[in-house]
């Protein structure tokens, strides 16, 4: 095989694997952003954080109704605690995503991308 083509194909395999691993990291991140409160499930998005932060800033902190991932209403008794919790979920998940991503990017060989040792 032409050496130029062989090198390109090697790199192509590396890129497929890298993109697959990036995709799975992102999926794991989405799962890590789930927060459960009052029998309801919330995905901690920037929108949710901003909206809840806005309500807290305005002094609306008790018995606030939010809609969850299934668009069902959930009455949150203590919104300040809820806010702290979702911030914690967001930062924990995001920091873990970032460190895993940085680790992944360091690997320049296909086999290292899928090495879990």
């Amino acid at each position: 095989m032409d050496e130029r083509l062989e090198k390109a194909l090697d790199f192509s395999n590396y890129m497929i694997t890298l993109n697959n691993q990036k995709r799975m990291l992102k999926e794991k991140y989405y799962e890590s952003l789930l927060y459960f409160s009052n029998g309801c499930q919330f995905t901690v998005t920037r929108e949710l954080i901003t909206f809840v932060g806005f309500l807290v800033d305005k002094g609306n902190t008790e018995d606030i109704v939010l809609t969850d991932d299934n668009e069902l209403p959930a009455k949150i008794a203590d919104l300040e605690t809820f806010y702290e919790d979702i911030l914690d979920v967001y930062f924990t998940a995001s920091n873990e995503y970032n460190s895993s991503y940085e680790e992944l990017k360091k690997n320049r060989k296909t086999e290292l991308l899928v090495d879990y040792e």
Binding site: N20, Q21, E31, L34, F36
Partner: protein, 282 residues
């Protein structure tokens, strides 16, 4: 309220579901910290061959032969035909010793604690509707709808239920759909005569929702990640799994994908058993 997980282990001469159940029970105990019971027709084999103390209760059922044969692939180049003993899932409502039950297939490999939250959520019945092919290069249409012109697909692989009159009605309806399978598969335009729990549960969900989409069946937390039986589970360590997934349009070629901290439905049960054997021998 009592809570726990239920697994069904009925061997078919080709696949050792009992071995898979023992393996999964240990992982459920580790990640979810709930008791696990098993429904099996091979109690003696379980007790003679494995550490059966991983189970809270062993619910014994009679051994039966079934005519429901299907092909089980082991990667894209090998396959075996074996009986598909899947006709007892509708009875789990009555057989479960728990008020709140997490019913799992033995090839759904738990690798995180996400299902702990099932017991906090208010829905009395939850299944996966949204799924995610780990390979992500195949047509996923067959897992969106039960047939081209039919209703939403629900996975019966993992079912959470809380005992209540409505959920009992649902399970009784699944049993009815199973008993009248040839009628329902025609009504719902399912081409194959092979009985599948995914289809029966999906049909029952559609009926219980007033013959429409609806919220009777809630959504389990997270996504249903799966690899098909043409993929291969190659290695597993703690919460990491290395898969070789079928390369699109290249028969017999694979791509490696590593998952970490994600529970995955491993449909290639042969490769799952090889990995379990390797773990046991370590």
């Amino acid at each position: 309220m009592s809570k726990g997980a239920i697994l069904i282990a009925r061997n078919n001469g080709r696949l050792d579901y009992v071995k898979q159940a023992v393996f999964l029970a240990k992982r459920i105990t580790h990640y979810l910290d709930i008791p696990v019971s098993v429904i099996t027709d091979s109690e003696d084999y379980l007790k003679n061959s494995f550490d059966y103390t991983v189970f809270d209760q062993i619910i014994s059922i009679p051994w039966t032969e079934v005519k429901n044969n299907r092909i089980f692939f082991d990667g894209s180049l090998a396959h075996k035909t074996a009986p598909f003993k899947n006709d007892i899932r509708d009875q789990v409502y009555d057989l479960s010793p728990y008020d709140e039950t997490l019913l799992l297939d033995t090839d759904y490999i738990i690798s995180n604690d996400l299902f702990k939250s099932c017991f906090e959520l208010t829905n009395n019945l939850m299944m996966f509707k949204e799924s995610y092919d780990v390979a992500k290069s195949r047509n996923e249409k067959e897992f969106k709808y039960i047939s081209d012109y039919s209703v939403d697909f629900y996975w019966a692989t993992v079912v959470f239920f809380r005992k209540s009159p409505e959920v009992q009605t649902f399970f009784n309806l699944v049993k009815h759909v199973k008993d009248e399978w040839n009628h329902y598969r025609r009504v719902y335009q399912i081409g194959s005569s092979l009985f599948r729990n995914d289809f029966a549960f999906s049909i029952a969900a559609h009926i219980m929702n007033g013959f429409d989409k609806g919220s009777f069946v809630g959504t389990l937390p997270g996504k249903h990640y799966y690899t098909i039986d043409k993929d291969i589970l190659w290695q597993m360590k703690d919460d990491s799994m290395l898969f070789l997934v079928e390369k699109k349009d290249y028969l017999g070629e694979y791509l490696p994908i590593l998952t970490k901290g994600q529970s995955v439905h491993v449909m290639n049960k042969f490769s799952l058993e090889r990995v379990i054997n390797e773990e046991e021998n370590e």
